[in-house]
Symmetry: C2
């Protein structure tokens, strides 16, 4: 089993990109990653995409992207784990390179979500839930996360103010990211004044519908030992949970994230205290609060206090979602897990510009699918 | 990199299974494979499924199946490469076990295709083509394969009689497989009398719409060295081609299958002459003829003569599709690649009953996506 590293990254602008198709987006991010890595040939492509079928009437995403990327007839595969498809693509690439079968692997993610309208996007995303027992009965993701928020408030006294602070903080970070869908700050008052989507979640508690793609190039560490811009992947972990929220023992925690983190920490030989910054899955503000707890950044039930303490703001103990997170940067679901890794890679390289976390040497990404039915955690470190 | 083996297999009945859901099918096949392998715990699940989104409104297939399989919160991932999703799931499992990260991995495939009606199945399957430049303009798969058939007839003089023989042969084989969707023989006259779907392809040249699932358990070879029912996976290969048929230089060949086979033969240290039997991707009769050529079973352009010679019938030099193939056994697209492997495993174990190929020690599976835009080939051998 070989150690692996990220050699190049690429991210498109996130947003409502009417003039770019599914394939355009993937190719743009992939070419940027290949340029960054200074590679022209690939051995394999893992393409994360949640639902090209329901958003674009297009499956067979791996072959499509290999074709349009123009790298010749190389093996290519789509991997899907709902909103954790991107992280899953990276984990697949790590295993592929570690195994010795492949040397230069592209892990990418893409989603083109604005090709549908009239509630179809919410329905498509609902396919990440239990379609037969949740979506069919009207439980879309805003309502599922709203129930989780209520459960967390009930169990731990988490406040509305804490939810608001997640959104305000991530927009503050996103204001420093020119590729973010919403690169501007918002006020707490704006969050509370935004329409109620599913109580207690307002519109500005929810990540948006986004087009975008991201890609990274994964190689054996031994080939880039002296490359200071290479970033080591020292741990990964994956887990699942019941697909339906109502079948979990505890709706106020996300067990799959905790288990994935435990595995990743163990593989990397790290603890939460070793992590300098993280990108976590804030599809809804409550998800970020629950992620802090699942990842061990703060004790269980203390996620709300943790964000209000300023610990996860730029300049705090462990800045979280310096990219703007899913909330401000945008959430093209299949791309999100890879975009998280691109942000951490930029930070560990010291290339994050206005949002640079000083002295960042170890970062974590936490990518989640559905209401927490799948989770992928990666730990990245600077190349010594 | 560790050598790997298949320890257990499971296949559901294929057909129009109105009383079984997507999850029911996957779980049934998986439990059968686990029973066959005598394992109760899994480290990882790779679930092949082409389009749970368009057929069932359900994505997040990996987590769903891990949940309903009841093996605890283990990592699970869906892989998709259109009709090659099953073969891709197995290749992913092989890499995962070979890497050393996982010891007991389930590779499964499933498709529940009869939940839609009114042309929706053909439209869903069309998502495996270039949705923007083929399906949008009306080119569904029967018409794409019809064009390939015409190109092959034009280039090599392939006859209508040869196409017919593929279907008749596979139904003859399928008549010996109680799990086949259509376990009965058909006559050449019936093929020609069946409705024309897209000239020159009649209805009985086309694989059907099918519900079904299949699963295999993959383990390190070192753990099953003395188990005669274990079957070694000694080679695999994957490749892609242009997603759109019209962008290929040659419409009368399937280059991705040829490249995947070349890689698999090389890894296994085999040539086509070493193969005792094969399961190939006869989604349409012409596809089986082109597969013979791509896999090196006969010279280019001679596939029609090859099937007419009887070489690929039970008792011939290299029986192909003893299971009944996609034509008679059925083609639940995400399951097909795994079902092929289950058939070869049964044969190499000497457990194929009425359709047993005597002395079979080395078998091959060839699973293809779209009009040949992706291909996965595996070579399996008896455990010495």
């Amino acid at each position: 089993m070989r150690d692996v590293a990220i050699l190049g990254i690429g991210v498109t602008k996130f947003g409502e990109l009417w003039d770019k198709s599914l394939r355009d987006l993937f190719v743009e991010a992939s070419l940027a990653a290949m340029d960054d890595a200074k590679v022209t040939k690939l051995d394999m492509i893992y393409a994360g995409c949640m639902t090209g079928g329901l958003f674009n009437g297009q499956e067979h995403i791996g072959s499509l992207m290999a074709d349009y990327l123009g790298t010749g007839p190389i093996p290519a595969l789509r991997v899907e784990s709902a909103c954790a498809s991107g992280g899953s693509a990276l984990a697949s690439a790590v295993i592929a390179v570690a195994s010795g079968y492949y040397d230069v692997v592209l892990a990418g993610g893409v989603e083109k979500m604005t090709d549908v309208s009239g509630g179809k996007a919410t329905e498509a995303l609902g396919a990440a839930a239990d379609a037969d027992y949740e979506l069919f009965l009207g439980a879309t993701f805003p309502s599922l996360y709203a129930m989780m928020a209520v459960a967390h408030m009930h169990a731990y006294g988490t406040t509305r103010k804490a939810l608001t602070e997640v959104s305000v903080k991530n927009h503050f970070h996103g204001s420093k990211n020119p590729k973010a869908q919403y690169p501007f700050e918002i006020t707490p008052e704006a969050v509370l004044a935004s329409p109620m989507v599913s109580e207690p979640l307002h519109l500005l508690d929810c990540s948006p519908i986004t087009d975008g793609a991201a890609a990274v190039i994964v190689v054996p560490l031994e080939k880039v030992k002296k490359d200071k811009r290479a970033v080591r992947i020292t741990g990964f972990g994956r887990s699942t949970d019941t697909i339906a929220l109502h079948q979990r023992k505890d709706m106020a925690s996300i067990g799959a994230v905790a288990r994935a983190a435990e595995a990743a920490y163990k593989m990397a030989g790290k603890t939460p205290k070793d992590i300098h910054l993280a990108e976590v899955h804030d599809c809804f503000t409550i998800a970020e609060i629950m992620s802090y707890e699942a990842l061990g950044f703060c004790p269980k039930g203390k996620g709300g206090e943790f964000v209000l303490s300023g610990a996860t703001r730029l300049g705090g103990r462990i800045p979280v979602n310096t990219s703007g997170g899913l909330k401000a940067k945008g959430h093209p679901v299949g791309a999100t897990g890879i975009a998280q890794v691109c942000e951490i890679t930029s930070q560990l390289r010291g290339e994050a510009g206005q949002r640079q976390v000083k002295g960042a040497r170890t970062g974590l990404t936490s990518n989640m699918g559905g209401s927490g039915a799948s989770a992928v955690v990666h730990i990245l470190e600077v190349n010594k």
